[in-house]
Amino acid sequence: MSRQGRWVYALLAAALALALLAACAPPAAPAPAAGEAPAEQAAPPPSLEQQVLGVWITWGDNPAQLQSLFDRYGAANNVKVEVNSPVDDDKVIAGLSGSEPPDILVTGGPDSVGTWAREGLIIPLDDFLAGGEVDINDIFEAPLGQCKYQGKYYCLPWGTDTYALFWNKDLFEEAGLDPEQPPQTMEELAEYAKKLTKIDDNGNITQVGFIPDFSWSHLGLYTAMMGGYWYSEDGTRITFTSDPVVNALKWEQQFYCDYNTEDVLRFTSAFGGYMSPDNGFYAGKVAMMVEGEWQPGVNFIQKYKPELYYGVAPFPPPQANPERKNTNLVSGTVAMIPSGVKDKAAAWKLMAWMMSPEIVAEEMVANFNLPSSKKAAEDPRFHENDKFEVFLKLMSDPNAKAPILTPINAEVDTELGQIEEQVLHTCADPLPLLEAAQAKLQPMLEKALAE
């Protein structure tokens, strides 16, 4: 190599080495300018002993609001709370199984709690609850029920969700129905849906009365309304073939199969995004829908279609069972403590703070979710919106139900989802599909529970 070449080579190698070193070096503290006294620094540096608590929240369209909420705990208790939101599912698994789990994990639903409890990834909170920092009687029964697994509480609800029937009053009037009178029974709902479905001369659907799985599946609600669930009460048996499940699927089926399912599917796939003015319900393409308590809030209908003229009412019971009025499936955000957390007492203290009525009230007002704490529910801010009140009443109704947890929730949900898809989109008979699935899942459940 020529002399010159050697120098260039050496220079490049040095530059590469420097770049590598810079990536590895810790961030350098800014050096004070000459003459400046160190005492002029604005805030005192955090003490080296200050604990750092990690909170991971799997949802979150406003991470800044969440961080500022938790900063209040941090300031009052001289700890630093780092909020990660939103967090991917993959990262959650890695975090739970790794050596640096978050001190508190907050998920949008209790679906995985059973699986994680079985795998020993999260700890039961019963011993902590005995200490009394959290008043368990202050939490509504329904959302609390979703955290019970094999007799112990593996999580606590942090606000919760439930669903009700929304209807478009303008479309009701057009169809000759009383806009102030929602359907009072499931059979009536089906009747109204027929009147509200419009098909043009070419055979194309231009408006649909009701789509049972609009946005996502509400099979849980329909099954509860039919008087049961797909697990036994104690979570040890799969009850796919029970009447409530079969009847719920058969009831759902008519909204697709009374028409050409292909046409219905085409119509629904033209809907715009969930959070956009072209949402099927906002745009007046679907006359009725089952949706959650966040819809009447500032981030949804008020934001995308404030002029929508609609009503909210509890989902109606079947005609033969008026005693099931106000049945609803309550399920929502839950908070848990991973088993790998070193200072569990500190994590519990933070969780107790999260569960306090003032904080629950504050966070649920910000998110427009239901407060899971009874005291928080008395906050006048939750009673300003009369549509929101419908949901509040549903959550505290004696007929409010919580989903039952098992360690194979994920497999069961997938299986049910596929059965629902076949029943709705291909008009298949639900019973044989349910029998086959039950035969496959029951041994799986028994094995998982035995571990």
């Binding site: 020993g120 994920a410 989802g417 898809e421």
Partner: protein, 321 residues
């Protein structure tokens, strides 16, 4: 053992034998030092996980507790699992139909892009561009193009009087939809074919022209055989990649229908092998099962590649050999 060349002769000698000078040994060690980073990375991030997954495939994996050894239990369960066979058949569909189709389309495009016309370089860029669009972005884009009601594809079909199928919700059409998405992005393969076409000696083509061969005969008898090594390369790469098909199916099924089924929607028609593996390992946390799946895939791809290479001796022609 090391091979050492000297003056054009290749002799096999031992590293520490009398043939190695101190300088040569030092150069070898320097070279090893330079690639030591890669070796460490390879052992840590490729070899170790591979061996670990082989071990875990024989166990019932638990995250916090010790994994229990169950021998061939996972493999037996897999062969009895109808979804395993479904995922295999879905993937085989993509390989058997998607790969040859994409080779055909890219070869035709390469032929066209080889014609000397004005703006040839612009055309080449345009045809290459789709392949550099990131996978997730292109899949989301195609979700809209494939929309049965208002999507571009069905609108265009409607113009010529065809009622386009329900691409994303009909189990019969979801895989063809994915193949279309794949065909849109064959830019890489086109470029490789283009380079192969440049190597076809013009003298041979001209000689054939003088002998009276028409364009089709020239293509069939000269061009195609001479790019057959490229075809073999693209075929093997395509088969290996398509057996691991994941990203587009994952994004598509997430965007298709929120009703329950999720992965593999609609109705398990897009449940490809890797998608099913992902579901077992990362949704259901059955890592042992998923590891067994991974190793079966490895063996399947290995067998396919070996078969392809063996058969290639019959249909590939290497210039000068």
């Amino acid at each position: 053992m090391a091979v050492r060349t000297g003056g054009g002769n290749v002799r096999r000698v031992w590293l520490r034998g009398p043939g190695w000078s101190r300088g040569e040994r030092r150069r070898l060690l320097t070279g090893l030092l330079f690639i030591s980073l890669w070796i460490i990375g390879f052992f840590a991030f490729t070899l170790y996980p591979m061996v670990a997954s082989l071990y875990y495939s024989f166990t019932e994996y638990h995250i916090k507790r010790a994994s229990e050894w169950i021998g061939l239990g996972n493999y037996v369960a897999l062969f009895r699992d109808p979804l395993f066979w479904k995922s295999l058949s879905n993937t085989a569909y993509m390989v058997a139909i998607g790969v040859p189709l994409s080779l055909f389309v890219s070869f035709v495009c390469a032929l066209l892009l080889n014609i000397k016309v004005r703006g040839q370089s612009i055309y080449r860029v345009v045809y290459f561009l789709p392949s550099i669009v990131p996978t997730v972005a292109s899949t989301l884009l195609w979700l809209w193009i494939l929309n049965p009601n208002s999507g571009l594809l069905n609108t265009l079909l409607g113009e010529i009087g065809i009622r386009g199928p329900n691409w994303t919700r009909d189990p019969a059409w979801s895989k063809p939809a994915l193949i279309l998405l794949g065909l849109w992005g064959v830019g890489n393969t086109i470029i490789i074919y283009l380079s192969g076409l440049q190597d076809v000696p013009v003298s041979l083509i001209e000689a054939a022209e003088l002998d009276g061969a028409n364009r089709w005969q020239r293509l069939w008898a000269i061009t195609i055989p001479l790019v057959s090594p490229i075809t073999l390369f693209n075929l093997i790469i395509g088969v290996i990649a398509t057996f691991q098909y994941f990203a587009q199916a994952y994004v598509l099924s997430a965007g298709v229908s929120p009703v329950g089924s999720g992965l593999g929607a609609p109705l398990n028609s897009t449940l490809f092998y890797s998608v099913y593996l992902y579901q077992q390992g990362f949704v259901y946390l059955k890592m042992g099962y998923a590891s067994a799946q991974a190793w079966i895939l490895f063996i399947v791809i290995m067998i396919c590649t070996v078969l392809l290479l063996r058969s290639s001796e019959r249909w590939t022609y290497y210039e000068g050999g």
